[in-house]
């Protein structure tokens, strides 16, 4: 479904991705973990197409996106939805208008009532049907993320990417978001990629977890395999210990 082959990326002279290889299967939820600044978000941006790798290949649904033109790239992106860390709602549009935005822009043949009905359905999926008229500034952090998720799924994507979906949320709200991610996989059958350093979230939602370190995936496996990993870097990261190879 998604494949990154030997991807390199340098930003401002700093090597971020250094030969990253990743293979994500259709319908699974893959969680990328790692310390801040190790290239998790850059990996995500390379998959979405917001960044191009310096070298290597990014294949999405059998298509190499490295040299794609704008039209092809847009066509592929319409099969993806992204939940940004902050929700990234357009601040002058209310929740309904934000969720409706991709439909209004790309499916101009839809009537107002059809758009309204789709938006309402998506808001119900994220349990936000009561907040459609609120502005982004009136929403809590969790509500913003749920609204962002409703917008991400409004075009019925085949792939959903989550960038730190639980950061800045209290444990209860974090679990609500985790449940939503699981339900998206169950109800919509989507392939999900989640970038996080919240291990409880990773264990809960992941079919597989990959740890990124120095621009490469150094360990990959199910939640149990990661919990029982003998790799000292992985062990230190998941335990949160201040002593170990990550802090040397």
């Amino acid at each position: 479904m998604i494949e990154l082959k030997d991807v390199y990326k340098t930003l401002d002279g700093r090597k971020i991705l250094q030969g990253l290889n990743l293979h994500i299967r259709e319908g699974e939820t893959y969680v990328i973990i790692g310390r801040s600044g190790t290239g998790k978000s850059v990996t995500l941006k390379n998959i979405i197409g917001l960044m191009k790798p310096d070298s290597g290949e990014v294949n999405i649904m059998g298509q190499c996106i490295n040299n794609m033109g704008k039209e092809e790239s847009y066509a592929l992106r319409q099969k993806m939805g992204v939940l940004f860390q902050s929700g990234a709602l357009i601040n002058w549009l209310n929740v309904e208008e934000n969720v409706a935005l991709p439909l209004v822009e790309h499916q101009r043949h839809l009537s107002k009532s059809e758009v309204q009905s789709i938006v309402q359905h998506k808001l119900e999926l994220v349990e936000l049907e009561h907040a459609g008229k609120r502005m982004p500034s009136e929403l809590s952090g969790g509500m913003k993320k749920r609204a962002g998720l409703a917008r991400a799924i409004v075009g019925n994507p085949k792939i959903i990417l989550y960038d730190e979906p639980t950061s800045g949320l209290d444990p209860v709200m974090s679990n609500q978001i985790n449940d939503l991610i699981i339900s998206m996989q169950e109800k919509l059958g989507v392939t999900s990629i989640c970038v996080t350093h919240d291990m409880s979230s990773a264990y809960r939602i992941a079919n597989r977890i990959g740890m990124i370190y120095e621009g490469q995936i150094i360990e990959e496996g199910t939640a149990d395999q990661i919990k029982n990993s003998q790799n000292p870097i992985v062990k230190q990261f998941i335990s949160g210990s201040t002593v170990g190879p990550l802090t040397q």
């Binding site: 941006k45 979405i48 917001l50 847009y74 992106r77 319409q78 993806m80 939805g81 992204v82 940004f84 860390q85 902050s86 990234a88 709602l89 357009i90 601040n91 935005l101 991709p102 822009e105 790309h106 101009r108 962002g148 917008r151």
Partner: protein, 268 residues
Amino acid sequence: MITSSKQYIGNTGRQIVEIFANMGFICRLFWATMKCYKSLAFRGRVILDQFFICGIQSLPVTLIVGVFTGMILALQSGLILKDYRLENYIGVVILLTMCKEAGPFMTAFILAGRVGSAMAAELGTMKVSEEIDALEVMCIDPVEYLVFPRMVALAICAPILIVYVNLLGVLGGAVVAKYQIGLEPVIYFKRILIYMSTYNLTIVFAGLFKGIVFGFIITSVSCAYGLRARNGAEGVGEAARQSVVYIFLLVLISNYFMSALIERIFGS
């Protein structure tokens, strides 16, 4: 000493490269925005919103500036003209100065400070809070969605604001001419009307063309800096500050060349 000289040369070189890179980005953005003309009808509502924000909300400050610019011009030119017993021509002097230079120039500066900085800050905030990325992901071209409506709105409302500034400048001038120079408003306006009916006024209205160009400059520069903002709130502030500086410089430089061109084509 040698090290600090090398550092100075290095920094200067970097700044020059950065200026050219920014200019290149501004030109590319302008061209990309021009290519969005097909979406004019679809973006009508947003253009109207922007017209309200850029134009209508700028009216109070623009009008105050217009009146006082006319008053200053009337005072300074009136005192000199009075010495030569030419005070009857104050109105003509103010009309020409306002329409040719002061009106477009002052309007551009107001729009740069009020609208340009706000545009840079707004787009900069959207950039650092990933809203621009979100648009890209939704396959919505940020240039078409954000820059194009702003550019169209400002290119329309800048000439309209210039007309208001010019009118109020002339009116403000009449007040000063009456109470400080002692020229009756009837003579003031009569001389203006005689001038307008006698001479080719293309050159006067060419000032409105400047307004359209200034509208393009203000939007291109402020949106370019906004779209390239980085590093959170600090980066947004920097984008707003730099955009105003560059707009001022570009307005000043382009104004000279436009004036020279207009005088060459239409001048006597």
